[in-house]
Symmetry: C2
Subunit: 195 residues, 2 copies
């Protein structure tokens, strides 16, 4: 069966799933559909104008410690970025474009590594352009297309679809009609998809 | 080593841990210290006067579905209670008294079953009294002691200790200086304690 992987580039826990889902899914014969979306508009509609991890510093302190431990457990590198949450809209538009072609997973994992390993600012078009170039894609062309109304509307519709499917955080997974929320449900979601 | 298990009776995810922790810890030679506390004062200090699962219904809907799936996975019975979150202060005071003697885990798991299996109102002293009686404890004596200033202060201090240790939700686990939050971290916390 298939699993939809809904992720937000600014989300730390989405990084954990992004780096593991393709291998884990392949082991179970499950196909992954990468679905970038934006949490900002969803959080705004709930009256939050920042990440909960910044609004509630005690929760934020815990999250950063938890991320260090989780990355250690999964064998992933991790460095807390200076900017959090990242302004992720351009990266998400590019990933949305990549999903229409065949380079979304590769692009997305590189964006996560730029942010959470190399400590780069993923709102910087130079950083995003370098990743496109690395993937042998035209940085100029694709960056220009992030300003195309079709791209903007496409990503916005995808975020609307997330809301319609009951999502309120990232990462989220959809298997059939079932919603699973959080990196901690990746294994359960894959089990449901391989059933 | 030891693990401190910090739980709130009104917390659905604390139910999952309460029903599994003693067996899982025994398998790894880890001693469990049961620490009842109250989330209400902690949530109030963050400006919430209700459970987040009620304040954000989309999140609440998800949580109830997730609980059904998690209980299925762990072989636990589950029925969504009519009252949520339960008014848990009397039950928590009794558990605090039980922790000074030797009946806290037995009492606490029975309170969880009353709430999340039998659908009883655990703020009802009759329900709590029946559980005490089942454990061959004097319901009248212990219920009277929930009104003793020493008991009230004792539980309040325990909640203050939770805040001092960086807790913001339940269940939480403390192993040495490390805080783990959520039933999803039970395995990691036990692994840390058995290390």
């Amino acid at each position: 069966m298939k699993i939809e992987f809904w992720y937000e580039f600014a989300s730390t826990y989405s990084y954990l799933s992004a780096m593991r889902i393709d291998v884990a899914a392949a082991e179970q014969g499950v196909e992954v559909i990468w679905k970038p979306f934006l949490l900002g508009p969803i959080f705004n509609s709930q009256g939050w104008n920042d990440s909960n991890f910044n609004i509630y510093p005690v929760k934020g302190d815990y999250m950063w410690r938890d991320m260090v431990r989780q990355c250690q457990k999964y064998g992933l590198e991790f460095n807390q970025p200076k900017i959090f949450p990242a302004h992720s809209v351009t990266a998400a538009r590019l990933a949305w474009l990549g999903a229409k072609e065949n380079w979304c997973p590769q692009f997305s994992t590189k964006v996560y590594e730029a942010q959470f390993v190399a400590g780069k600012d993923i709102s910087d078009v130079q950083v995003l352009g370098d990743i496109l170039t690395e993937l042998e894609l035209s940085a100029d062309d694709y960056l220009a297309r992030t300003q195309d109304p079709k791209t903007k509307t496409g990503l916005r519709s995808q975020t609307d679809e997330a809301v319609a499917k009951g999502m309120f955080g990232a990462p989220s997974f959809i298997v059939g009609e079932e919603l699973f929320w959080g990196d901690d449900r990746l294994a359960d979601a894959l089990a449901a998809a391989s059933f």
